[in-house]
């Protein structure tokens, strides 16, 4: 054997044997999953770029299309709900929602991120089945790359939203941003948790990816995106109100509105929104951990189920 071969053999002899593939322990595997993932940061970065570059590669307008959908939704809801159904506050309708365009776009931006992450993640393992079957990398990178790409789109929408607030002369300042940071953290952690879980389940039950699109559509109405919180509080009470507020996305949307919807400063919000968001954050982190462990457990059979 050559000297190079011998030195390699010596180095290997000093290393302990390690099991091939991911470690399965429910609790003990957490640390290993994290180190595994952090050693694949560069791959994650490249996958996010791939996701973004490949999405509108051959279209003339490119990234514009990722904005077209929320802008079209804004226009439709603004005209249909704000004008026709009379949700917008006008001199003749003092009970309406002030700054209605900003209000709607704030909620839609938050919801769009949630929907991008959840829907994208759900299909991510199946979409990358070629890779999953052939190369071992921590499989979490596929849903996480969707999260990365969705965050990029979110950033563009935020720029537009903030530009609009500047135009309206209502740029949010000061302590409001604390709500934004908190709500944003809940949003990312919670949607990643849901996305990871569904990505794994979808491998075994492909119906999930179709089901989730419908659920996303339905649940959009379970958060105060297209209507204001004050209408809810005036209608439901007691247990049902608690249930409504137990939805992390409701809190996220309220948090976004509290931060970015300056015209609505005088409007009604749940009094303990900050506490509720903190609780939601804690729950989301816990959910993320549980979902990641479930994902780790299920991923050992991904290659043969695809």
């Amino acid at each position: 054997m050559t000297t190079e071969g011998l030195s390699r053999a010596e180095r290997l002899a000093a290393e302990p044997l390690r099991p091939a593939g991911p470690r399965s322990g429910f609790f003990t595997g957490t640390w290993r999953s994290m180190t595994d993932l952090s050693s694949h940061r560069e791959l994650l970065d490249l996958l996010v770029r791939r996701e973004l570059k490949a999405r509108y590669k051959d279209s003339v307008l490119g990234f514009f299309w990722s904005l077209a959908k929320p802008l079209a939704m804004l226009l439709v809801y603004y005209v249909a709900i704000g004008k026709f159904l009379g949700a917008e506050q006008t001199p003749g309708r003092p009970t309406g929602i002030p700054g209605f365009a900003i209000f709607i776009f704030t909620g839609l931006t938050a919801w769009q991120l949630f929907s991008d992450i959840v829907v994208g993640s759900t299909g991510s393992i199946v979409a990358n089945s070629g890779l999953v079957k052939k190369v071992y990398v921590p499989r979490e990178v596929y849903p996480l790359s969707v999260v990365g790409a969705a965050l990029f789109n979110f950033a563009i929408q935020m720029v537009i939203l903030l530009g609009a607030t500047v135009l309206m002369g209502d740029f949010p300042t000061g302590r409001r941003w604390a709500y934004f940071v908190l709500a944003f953290a809940v949003l990312v952690v919670w949607s990643t948790a849901v996305g990871l879980l569904l990505a794994a389940v979808n491998v075994y039950l492909r119906d999930v990816q179709y089901l989730i699109e419908i659920l996303i559509m339905i649940f959009m109405w379970a958060s105060p995106i297209l209507y204001a919180w004050k209408f809810v509080e005036g209608t439901v009470r007691g247990f049902w109100l608690d249930l409504y507020l137990a939805n992390p996305m409701t809190l996220v949307v309220l948090g976004f509105q509290r931060a970015l919807w300056v015209a609505g400063s005088g409007e009604l919000f749940p009094g303990n929104l900050a506490q509720l968001l903190l609780i939601a954050l804690a729950v989301s982190v816990l959910a993320l951990w549980v979902c990641q462990r479930v994902f780790a457990r299920l991923q050992s059979n991904f290659a043969q189920e695809l």
């Binding site: 390699r8 560069e42 570059k53 490949a54 890779l131 999953v132 492909r206 290659a303």
Partner: protein
């Protein structure tokens, strides 16, 4: 003894084939879901230890569990029982360009694919020119991969793959892609890997590649390791299996069509050098003439027939073959068993073990019967040469 880098202990892997996948089907068939399950053991109680620096070939018929074993080593799937443990960095080339995205350019794909194979970006930057140079598709590196020819595609993928720096390399059927000069480059690279003491585990159906590259071969069959050792030995086991499978197939085909005629004749035996029994290995020297006797037993009168013999190396390569047609002989009609003799003069075989094959073919070209390893032959050379043929050689200033 080299350091074990792969330890496979009592590994079994079962595959469950569910025939339904959708929610509707599962609900409809809920109570009977076991009827819609099919499972089989892809691997059963496999124990293998592979030492560092060795090159191991996994061979076997289709569906014998070779690729499953490779995927277990790669951590892509998990065993149902037993454990697979490794030392050192591992890279798996199970499919070339698995991570290539058609809409990205060659350059972008190189970075992505390298990252998937575990090469850091800094390393890729360093190797980038070498990778592109190796692939030989420099003019197209900024073109989207979907416009590549399939040859260019695999060349680029292979170039990335061979620039990984693993201690263990798993290869599945992807050695030697592209045109001949490129194939040669690939094989050189693999030999370089061996020279550097990397461990290579390869799955292939190209048996001569196994003989050529590997220092050990495992034959898998129905999830069991049926042979483990020298490639020559393993290849013989595998070839014997293939032969018996082929015979079974012929018999089944005959059983299916009752109208098909029974074999018209069979070759009872063939011997070398006057020995009466084909069981023993006959020893001869390099330049000895060889007499091959073949005994044919016709079941029914045999009119138009051709008898052929061949000399094969232990690897199964035919180094010499002839038949009565090539020799320009009109074979007489045959009604009784008869023995015929081929005399091979000036057959200069090199040192090694050879086998004799005999086959009987009808005038219409259909095989009537054949003995793939009718006799074996140990040739002793003069120690002055290597390879399958011998020559009287000398060396002097010209």
């Amino acid at each position: 003894m080299s350091v074990p880098v792969i330890e496979i202990a009592d590994v079994s892997k079962r595959f469950v084939i569910r025939k339904e996948k959708s929610l509707k089907e599962r609900i409809v068939n809920f109570g009977r879901s076991n009827l819609h399950k099919d499972d089989f053991w892809a691997l059963k109680d496999v124990n293998v230890t592979i030492g560092s620096g060795s090159t191991v070939g996994l061979i076997g018929p289709n569906g014998s569990g070779k690729s499953t074993l490779l995927k277990l080593i790669g951590g892509i799937i998990q065993p149902n029982s037993g454990s697979v443990r490794l030392r050192g960095r591992l890279a798996a080339l199970l499919e070339l360009g698995a991570g290539f995205h058609p809409d990205l350019t060659g350059r972008e794909n190189v970075y992505l694919n390298a990252s998937i194979l575990g090469i850091s970006r800094a390393q890729t930057n360093r190797y980038f020119d070498a990778i592109v140079d190796f692939s030989g598709i420099e003019p197209f590196i900024d073109t989207q991969v979907k416009f590549y020819s399939s040859g260019m595609y695999v060349r680029l993928a292979f170039s990335v793959a061979v620039h990984v720096d693993p201690d263990i390399l798993l290869v599945d059927e992807v050695l030697a892609v592209g045109d001949e000069p490129f194939q040669r480059k690939c094989m050189d690279r693999i030999r370089g890997f061996q020279h550097e003491g990397r461990t290579i585990v390869l799955v292939t159906h190209a048996l001569d590649q196994v003989a050529d590259l590997c220092d050990r071969a495992l034959v898998l069959e129905h999830g069991h390791v049926v042979a483990d050792g020298e490639p020559q030995h393993a290849l013989r086991v595998l070839r014997a299996d293939f032969e018996s499978a082929r015979q079974n197939e012929i018999e089944r085909a005959q059983a299916r069509s009752s109208t098909a005629p029974a074999p018209a004749a069979r070759i009872a035996w063939a011997t070398v050098g006057g020995e009466t029994s084909g069981e023993q290995t006959v020893s001869v020297r390099s330049f000895d003439p060889l007499r091959v006797r073949v005994h044919i037993e016709p079941e029914q009168p045999l009119k138009d027939w051709v008898l052929g013999i061949g000399v094969q190396t232990a690897m199964g390569t035919t180094v010499f073959g002839t038949n009565t047609q090539l020799l320009g002989i009109d074979t007489p009609p045959l009604e009784e068993p008869a023995t015929f003799e081929f005399v091979l003069r000036d057959l200069n075989l090199g040192e090694g073990l050879y086998t004799i094959r005999a086959d009987l073919v009808g005038g219409d070209g259909h095989e009537i019967h054949r003995l793939p390893e009718a006799a074996s032959l140990q040739v002793h050379g003069d120690g002055r040469s290597q390879g399958s043929i011998a020559a009287n050689s000398s060396f002097a200033r010209a």
